[in-house]
């Protein structure tokens, strides 16, 4: 295997690799200025008299100069550190980024007021003031920086609230956040509002507890890490860092499980629902499909509120949210950066699609990991779809029981733990006797549901019903066979059906908002359950009758929502074309000019070798300036010790090896690889070469057919007779002895009776009678005007067979001429009696 090539090639390769590594290491990394830690003191409170120190970090823009600014807010329970990575990326995109720990979080002082206009919103206004004083920040006018706000969850809400209260903010990207905190914590899918909503107690509990985990540091003096935390006071363990009045509201609603009017009032003060028509700037709303806390419906309400002012709005549903999912961090960054590039930097790129939904794109062909595709639609259809389909549902009225104490409860998802994302896995568990369900027929075609389906349900109860009937509506995807039904994204829609004095009630229930593909053959199942782990349910035992008021499900669809076809990239066509050009260059550049190089003077000279030179790869000469001529009718012996260059010379005669210098002419035609004149050369060099799985006869026949010459020119019969293999001719060659192969190979060389026959050690492996026969054959062969060249180290044999010899040693010609002359010239003096062996040893200087 010669693939290693020349050392030069290796050195070049190593040099190129070394250079590449050096460039990699020395390539200037983006020299973003270092982030600056800041303590920014603000005044807030209803009377602007509370002094709070916000712990902030400022990331100067990578490009230098005055750049648009971005305020990056963190989620509930986090701090400015939570968004550091995102801030670095945005700063790298050329924005001046300010992150801060909201009051009551991290090292900032103050108490949590839940994005209240009196507290957190005022803080942000003063952060905007601060940005306006920075030399790195581009100003729209004095005191008005070009600034956007982005953040997730708690940080998303402050983006919306700040945008409503501060006209200087130019664009926002709120993520996974609320429109109405009251509605988010007290959802009611029948449209009755949070006062009659079902308390989302587990999420609410988690939400509030995250505000109480870190004790407040001493104002003005950052707490040393090693310092023992002082024992928490009773107020601290009760309310953490919450504002006491908020704490009281929470404790009240958590105890009763019902929203009081003042609780709704308080929660709404912290919600964009309280500032209708005041968010008038470009808004990109990114909401998670895996979010049982702030559902897609919250983003929908925000989108409608902003769109009502005429400001540009885009909505994106991504694979993430408070329940987990992929998170799509890179994609979120891209979207955020693109939104700000358009509305802060004023770049005119491709406009963001009004509606984007992340869908399952199968698995990456290489890694087999899930791939997200992003379907876009030219219009945002809202929750109820661009179009609707009616899916008939079947099922009788069914009794369902509310267990005493609400336990055991069914499970849809576990807040803070999320839903498993693995295909076919579902955490949802229905408790027996607590659930009524209504199924569709198997779908004949796949159905892509985008939005919240609606169904009208009727309940009947005989017990105490002033509180209404609490049910949890779910839309299952029921597969075929033994597949467990799948609850898309683990979402439920709680409903509290108001019941008349007669004990019956009806409600139109909006099922959870999803983007889900129901495959053909699957069924849709609407289930109503009395309990759910995440919610407060009545403690009193009861039994309800549940039936459909109208036996159909209204399903929203959006046919315009499509994954952009990723047509073949440009390289699909370019690469093969380039490859063909490269291949053509490779072939043409390597072409040796084929010219008929004929010397008519030598037309009758079977072999003329002139100045032939060939070096081994290490530079040592195998054949060194070799010249000799063979005439017609000669039997020439080519003699020389091992390594004299005999075989190399013969290979060059056959066109197998390219000479470094000099030339070989056969009947005046210069030998080159595949030269036509080689058809007049028969050869046997360095042992036989047969296909071991074929018979001797098949080998010879196929060889002759490979020459492409007419079969009658081959003289098979004679050649086979010379081989003398008898019945063995029809056995596979792999069963042959060395001598048999040898004879077959000589026969192959004689096929077609070539004018020049070259045999390398033909007597190897032959017994004395066969050697004698061979001698006769060769002499007879040459007697007819043909020429035979034999190399051998059986000198006695050569002496008897050959009329002429050429003696080589270390690649050079030592002597050439008739055997007789050679013997005479080197005779011991009396002119006869010397043997070729003595002469030979004498010539090559090995004689003792």
């Amino acid at each position: 295997m010669k693939l290693a090539g020349k050392p030069v090639a290796w050195i070049a390769l190593v040099a190129v690799l070394a250079a590449a590594v050096a460039v990699w290491i020395l390539w200037p990394s983006p020299s973003g200025a270092r982030p600056q830690e800041q303590s920014i003191t603000v005044l807030d409170g209803p009377r602007d008299d509370q002094r709070v120190t916000l712990d902030a970090t400022f990331f100067p823009p990578a490009g230098g100069g005055r750049a648009p600014a971005v305020l990056l807010a963190h989620g509930f329970g986090g701090s400015k550190q939570s968004v550091r990575e995102a801030a670095v990326r945005l700063a790298g995109d050329g924005y001046a980024v300010l992150t801060w720990s909201a009051r009551g979080f991290g090292r900032s002082t103050g108490q949590i007021a839940l994005n209240s206009p009196d507290y957190e919103v005022k803080d942000v206004r003063q952060l905007v003031d601060w940005l306006a004083r920075r030399p790195e920040v581009r100003l729209d006018e004095a005191g008005d920086p070009r600034v956007g706000v982005a953040g997730g969850s708690y940080g998303g809400a402050i983006a919306l609230m700040a945008a409503a209260h501060d006209d200087r903010i130019d664009a926002i990207v709120p993520q996974i956040t609320w429109h109405d905190l009251a509605d988010a914590l007290f959802p009611e899918a029948g449209g009755r509002g949070p006062q009659d909503g079902v308390f989302k107690r587990m999420w609410a509990g988690l939400f509030f507890s995250r505000g109480g985990t870190s004790p407040a540091p001493v104002p003005g003096a950052p707490r040393a890490v090693t310092e023992e935390a002082p024992p928490a006071s009773a107020q601290e363990v009760r309310c953490g860092r919450f504002l006491p009045e908020l704490c009281d509201v929470y404790q009240k609603i958590a105890e009763t499980g019902r929203a009081t009017p003042e609780a709704v009032e308080t929660l709404r003060r912290s919600s964009p629902v309280s500032v209708p028509g005041r968010i008038r700037i470009p808004t990109l709303l990114i909401q998670g499909t895996r979010d049982s806390l702030f559902t897609l419906a919250q983003a929908d309400a925000n989108a409608r509120a902003v769109a009502a002012t005429g400001a540009p709005v885009s909505v994106a549903w991504f694979d993430g949210g408070h329940d987990g999912g992929d998170g799509e961090i890179d994609w979120l960054h891209e979207r955020t950066a693109a939104w700000f590039a358009r509305y802060l930097k004023g770049e005119s790129g491709q406009a963001e699609a009004p509606f984007t939904v992340t869908r399952d794109g199968g698995r990456d062909p290489g890694t087999r990991r899930p791939v997200q595709l992003h379907a876009t639609s030219p219009a945002y259809p809202g929750l109820y779809g661009a179009a609707t389909t009616q899916i008939p549902l079947e099922g009788p009225a069914q009794p369902v029981a509310n267990p005493p104490g609400g336990s055991p409860s069914s499970i849809s998802s576990v807040p803070g733990f999320g839903v498993p994302t693995g295909a076919g896995l579902s955490l949802s568990t229905e408790m027996p006797g607590q659930s009524a369900h209504f199924d569709s027929a198997p779908l004949t075609a796949p159905l892509q549901v985008t939005g919240g389906s609606t169904v009208r349900v009727r309940v009947r109860t005989e017990g105490d019903s002033k509180d209404g009937v609490t049910l949890f509506a779910k839309l299952y995807d029921v597969g075929v066979g033994t597949q467990a039904p799948v609850l898309p994204d683990g979402l439920v829609a709680p409903v509290r059906v108001a019941v008349s004095s007669g004990g019956t009630g009806e409600a139109t229930v909006t099922l959870p908002v999803i983007d889900h593909r129901f495959d053909a053959g699957h069924r849709l199942r609407v289930a109503f359950t009395t309990t759910d782990l995440g919610y407060s349910t009545p403690a009193a035992p009861a039994v309800y009758q549940v039936e459909l008021a109208s036996p159909a499900l209204t399903v929203p669809t959006d046919a315009a929502l499509r994954t952009p076809p990723n047509g073949p990239s440009w390289w699909t066509w370019a690469l093969p074309a380039v490859a063909v050009v490269v291949a053509a260059l490779l072939l043409l550049a390597g072409r040796r000019r084929r010219r008929t190089d004929h010397d008519p003077d030598l037309a009758d000279v079977p072999l003329r070798i002139d100045g032939l030179t060939k070096a081994y790869r290490n530079g040592e000469l195998a054949v060194d300036d070799l010249s000799f001529t063979v005439e017609r009718g000669q039997v020439l012996g080519l003699l020389g010790p091992n390594g004299a260059g005999k075989t190399t010379t013969m290979r060059m005669m056959m066109g197998l090896i390219h000479p470094d210098a000099g030339e070989i002419r056969i009947f005046g035609h210069r030998v080159s690889p595949g030269a036509a004149v080689l058809s007049r050369l028969g050869s046997f060099v360095e042992g036989p070469g047969f296909l071991p799985h074929l018979t001797g006869r098949a080998n010879l026949e196929l060889y002759w057919r490979a020459t492409g010459r007419p079969e009658r020119d081959a003289h098979f019969a004679e050649a086979l007779e010379i081989a003398g293999l008898g019945g063995a001719l029809d056995r596979a060659v792999r069963t042959y002895s060395q001598g048999m192969r040898q004879r077959l190979a000589i026969a192959q060389a004689m096929l077609g009776l070539p004018d020049l026959l070259v045999l390398d050690e033909p007597a190897n492996g032959l017994d004395p009678p066969q050697i004698r026969e061979m001698r006769e054959v060769l002499i007879a062969y040459a007697a007819r005007g043909r020429t035979v060249i034999v190399s051998s180290h059986l000198l006695a044999e050569v002496e008897q067979t050959c009329g002429h010899v050429v003696v080589m040693h270390r690649g050079r010609l030592v002597t050439a001429g008739p055997v007789r002359e050679l013997l005479n010239g080197h005779g011991p003096g009396n002119g006869s009696g010397s043997r070729l062996e003595d002469v030979f040893l004498d010539l090559i200087g090995e004689k003792a």
């Binding site: 010669k2 070469g689 006769e776 007879a780």
Partner: protein
């Protein structure tokens, strides 16, 4: 002994000492007629490894059928819709399954064998030098060998799914195709032409292996080295494409699109991945084959 030659000579009308053409060729010799395809087919066909490989490819579907029949009673339905779960749905499902389990390795080995062995084994038998001195011009020798090796490779790639279709249809019936994952059904007659495209695509996607094996075959005397080198490339490429960090660079790995044919059996066939796969495969193979020709042209044959 010499009378044999005398007989031979008498049979020759006249030893052609001055041939008609100016290049000194023997009578009846035409470079364009050397090493006819039929000869090369015959030379390769009776080889044990050719026969064993085809035997394996033709027997595999029946082994799989037997495995499914034996396992039918014991395994309980898993409820998932993987390709292996759907293999017993019908002949086409079974053929797709058989193709999916063999395309990534067995067919690679088969193609690497036919293309990697072809020149290297001649070198190892020493028969290469006699062919070249016959003389078969080097480009022509390589061309004929490449055509025959590709024909055998194509036969291998085609015979497995066709036999699987036959075996699956006999064992499980001629039914509509159920698509893995979603469980939708597609009419069998709609899928049949697409199945042809799939087989064609699998063949084209093996071109890289074929071309690399061929290039290695030209450079080495060891048939196993050429076959192993080509298979090794597929393994390395498979490992690299699992590295997410390479991003879209992975699209240019020779094996990245090797499973793209699954898209053609979906209810809405998507040929995008297959088109890219064909582009990548053709690109690599054209360049590799050109390198093989260039290399063989310049090489000193010392085997």
């Amino acid at each position: 002994m010499s009378e044999i030659l005398a007989r031979a000579d008498s049979a020759v009308e006249e030893v052609p000492e001055t041939p008609g053409r100016g290049d000194g060729r023997a009578a009846g010799y035409l470079p364009g007629r050397t090493l006819p395809l039929s000869v090369e087919f015959a030379r390769q066909f009776r080889r044990r490894r050719t026969l064993v490989m085809f035997g394996l490819l033709l027997a595999l579907p029946w082994v799989l059928v037997a495995a499914f029949e034996l396992g039918a009673g014991s395994g309980q339905p898993t409820g998932t819709l993987r390709m292996s779960d759907l293999a017993t749905e019908g002949g086409l499902n079974f053929a797709a399954f058989a193709l999916s389990v063999s395309a990534s390795f067995l067919l690679v080995v088969a193609v690497a064998l036919f293309c990697g062995d072809t020149v290297a084994s001649e070198a190892s038998w020493s028969s290469l030098r006699y062919l070249l001195a016959a003389p078969v011009p080097r480009d022509r020798l390589l061309r004929q060998k490449l055509v025959v090796a590709l024909a055998y490779s194509a036969a291998a790639v085609v015979c497995l799914p066709v036999m699987a279709l036959l075996a699956g249809t006999l064992a499980f019936g001629w039914n509509d195709v159920r698509v893995p994952g979603t469980g939708e059904t597609v009419a069998a007659l709609d899928v049949l032409p697409r199945f042809g495209i799939v087989v064609g695509y699998v063949l084209v996607s093996q071109f890289v292996v074929a071309a690399l094996a061929f290039l290695l075959s030209v450079g080495t005397d060891s048939p196993l080295g050429a076959v192993g080198g080509a298979v090794g490339l597929v393994i390395v490429s498979g490992i690299l494409q699992a590295v997410d960090a390479l991003g879209s660079l992975r699209e240019f790995l020779p094996t990245f699109w090797s499973t793209a044919w699954l898209d053609a059996l979906a209810p809405q066939p998507d040929y995008g991945g297959m088109v890219k796969g064909v582009a990548v495969s053709v690109t690599y193979s054209v360049v590799l084959v050109a390198l093989a020709f260039r290399r063989f042209r310049r090489r000193d044959v010392v085997s």
